[in-house]
């Protein structure tokens, strides 16, 4: 929008960001993006994963520094170089990944940013306890404020995170996918919180890719795609289709190419009455060669726990797992891999990448024995194989020696997927395969998963992304509270049915 106009309106605006750009090694995260928030209004920020939503708010929060562009609050231009700058300016961000100190009590976490202190400068613990309790009563959320935060289930931690927004005198509250791990009635509480905020004249930036929520709570919607600003319109002017159109930029089915034929009836993976001490209860299912089995569930439903159990990463307390008819010793990844099952973890940095090490080393890790004679690695063969995967998967890297930390999320994910293909597995478990990667790469990953299946692998996919689930899966199993609550065929499944089952 024209700058002079912006300036003229400035006083009315809570926040104005113009011409914001940000690059990371190998990817342009934001390109000349602008955003305007009005006091007392809810402004939705939408876009697929990797569209640039998170980057934008992290700039706002002072986590990243923008490469260019200006930020105005109440018309005055400001610089945000450190989170404390944002907080001083009354910008409160509720992040998707929990930003709480696990060792502290819930009450203390609420006041983490500004401990109430007495005249002597001592922390007023009683005040903290009292106000925290009062706060949760106000929004009608029942949680033990003296509990160790780390001991709470994820969804409750998320609510604590959200409640913090009320505890501070904020002028702008940003919420990044706040509902991702919430049960519907918790979402209800969330909206209650948001309305309370707006009634106090606070501007709310609501980041989400869930249409229904946006239509319910937002006044205005800004859509980003591939780091670019696509549209900003009052919600009234939008329909489901127009929004999706803006977000994805093409019709949904084209995002999910489906070349593969029907699944064979050879059972590649069978899980019987699997339970773990922590979470899972009596899980049984099978996956056939050439089939994509999609697991859906809200955060904390036990998807990741299941994924880690069936690849032998976590110990199990009961039940059995067999791959290609062979029984797997629980809690032993080595036999699991040699039997032909592997996991593409949701936590790329934590459980997938060796950030400092080169692409080739990351790529060949699981298949290394195949290039070795008497333990000696034939490096030319290793590199040749790696190169062929880099080409086939169109992995964008300047060289095989490139430390993988310098690749974009999408390319990193492709390397990790290639790691398993190189090993030649029969069953591959993918957990949130497209988390935090941009749309282009996303469809490539989808294509790869489809190819895996068509090449006769059994794919077990854990996801919280409805389109991805519906688009890719042959069968859909829904989890809640560590159990499988429903099972649908591709044809039966609809967004509503699946959600209801997930709420359990």
């Amino acid at each position: 929008m024209p700058a002079d106009l912006a300036v003229a309106e400035a006083p009315a605006l809570a926040l104005e960001m113009t011409g914001i750009s940000k690059r990371f090694p190998g990817v342009v995260a934001l390109n000349d993006v602008h955003l305007r928030l009005e006091p007392g209004k809810v402004h939705a920020l939408m876009g697929e994963n990797g569209a640039g939503k998170s980057t934008l708010i992290k700039i706002l929060a002072g986590v990243y520094e923008k490469d260019s562009g200006t930020i105005r609050i109440g018309g005055r231009e400001i610089e945000i170089l450190h989170p404390s700058d944002a907080l001083k300016r009354g910008i409160k961000v509720v992040f998707q990944e929990i930003a709480l100190i696990a060792e502290f009590t819930v009450a203390e976490n609420i006041f983490l940013e500004e401990y109430p202190v007495g005249r002597g400068g001592s922390i007023r613990w009683r005040t903290i306890r009292k106000e925290a309790r009062a706060l949760f009563e106000r929004i009608g959320f029942d949680v033990d404020t003296d509990a160790r935060t780390g001991a709470l289930p994820v969804s409750q931690q998320q609510m604590v995170e959200i409640a913090r927004a009320l505890a501070h005198e904020a002028r702008i509250v940003v919420m990044d996918e706040p509902s991702s791990s919430l049960t519907p009635n918790e979402v209800g509480l969330l909206f209650k919180v948001i309305r309370r905020l707006t009634s106090l004249g606070i501007a709310v930036l609501y980041v989400s890719h869930k249409l229904d929520e946006v239509f319910e709570i937002a006044d205005t919607v800004t859509v980003l795609r591939d780091g670019r600003h696509i549209s900003t319109r009052p919600i009234a002017e939008h329909t489901n289709d127009t929004l999706i159109q803006d977000m994805i930029g093409r019709r949904i089915e084209t995002l999910f190419p489906r070349e593969r034929g029907p699944a064979s009836d050879r059972i590649a993976l069978s899980v019987k009455n699997l339970s773990t001490a922590a979470k899972l209860k009596d899980i049984s299912f099978e996956a056939r060669a050439g089939e994509v089995v999609g697991f859906f569930g809200l955060m904390g439903a036990g998807r990741t726990e299941l994924a880690k159990a069936i690849v032998g990463f976590d110990p199990i307390s009961g039940g059995e797992i067999s791959i290609g008819g062979k029984r797997l010793h629980p809690h032993d990844t080595r036999t699991a891999v040699s039997l032909g099952i592997g996991l593409l973890s949701e936590d790329r940095k934590g459980e997938g990448l060796m950030l400092e090490l080169p692409v080739v080393t990351n790529l060949s890790l699981a298949a290394l024995e195949e290039f070795a004679r008497l333990g000696l690695i034939d490096e030319s063969r290793e590199r040749a194989a790696a190169q062929s995967f880099v080409d086939r998967f169109r992995i964008r890297t300047p060289s095989l020696e490139q430390p993988i930390k310098n690749l974009s999320g999408g390319n990193q994910q492709k390397v990790l997927l290639a790691r398993w293909l190189m090993r030649g597995l029969s069953v591959i478990v993918v957990d949130e395969p497209t988390r935090g990667i941009d749309v282009g790469a996303k469809s490539e990953i989808f294509a790869l998963i489809d190819r895996l299946a068509s090449e006769g692998h059994a794919v077990v996919m854990m996801t919280s992304e409805m389109p991805e689930l519906l688009g890719l899966s042959d069968r859909i199993l829904v989890m809640a509270g560590g159990r499988i609550t429903e099972s649908f065929t591709r044809e039966q499944a609809t967004q509503e049915k699946v959600l209801n089952a997930a709420i359990g």
Partner: protein, 327 residues
Amino acid sequence: MVSEVSHPAGPGNAIGRLANNSQIVLIAVLVILCVGVSLAEPQFYSGANVIAILRQAALVMIVGAGMTMLLITAEVDLSVGASLAFVGVVAMDVINITNSVAIGSLAGIAFGGLVGLVNGFVVTRLKVNSLIATIGTMMILQGSVFLYSREAVQNHHHLAAFVDIGAGYVGPLPIPVIVAALFFAVAYVLLRHTTLGRYLYAIGANQKAARLSGIRAERLKLFAFVVTGLLVGVAGLVLVSLMNAGQPTAGRGFELTVVAAVILGGTSLAGGRGTLLGTLLGVLVLKVIDNAIILLQWNQDLQMIVPGVVLILATYLDLAKRRANAR
């Protein structure tokens, strides 16, 4: 931006490349040291002195090879000094009893391996932070060595073979240097060209990822501890032979020398980074400094100060370089 980081690299040098940048500094330092010292004190290049330096370096290098593996897997062993002394005492004692260098040597090396096994067990099974665990075992060894023998175990039957371990020569080369070279070569190949070595890096870089890829991280760490222990056994033999007696008081501060050398060589305490070549350079730099201070007849207290400063400086340079690369 991305291209800045990519260096041309021959096949397989992938991991090597990462460390190489940090080694240029060391090579430079080493060269400057040698030139500087030999200008001030020509004796520096006398064959005798070079051999003296090499023999001292050998002792540290032997253990350094194991310590490098440990640090690459993000663990550390501070008990090597105490263990070094104990190995000597045990070996000397067994040799006196059995009158056989072979058996005595085996006993010493076995003892070292046992210590490594215990350390490895405490760290991988009991999950005790290796820094604390090995400080604990260090105390235990320092105490129990005196319980084993209060006074130095003397060399009763002077067996030629025993003396040779430390003081012997093959041609112009002292045996300890040859031994060190041997272990260096083996460890080098192991770290650089074998699956095992690659897995050690993987574990240090990201243990969970390694496990998910079917690597038995805990076992390999245990392996690294045992290897280090065995190498301490070998070094202990060399030392006991050189001293011609099992000295319970030997090895004080040896662990710090070794760790310092390895870190100086660009191996990161965080794991996943480091090379044996770097360790070799680190050892040489430290030992040349040590030697130079004596040759120049400087106050030997500098032998404590200089390494301290060098260590911090080297780590800083390495850090700075990697930050530059990350930009």
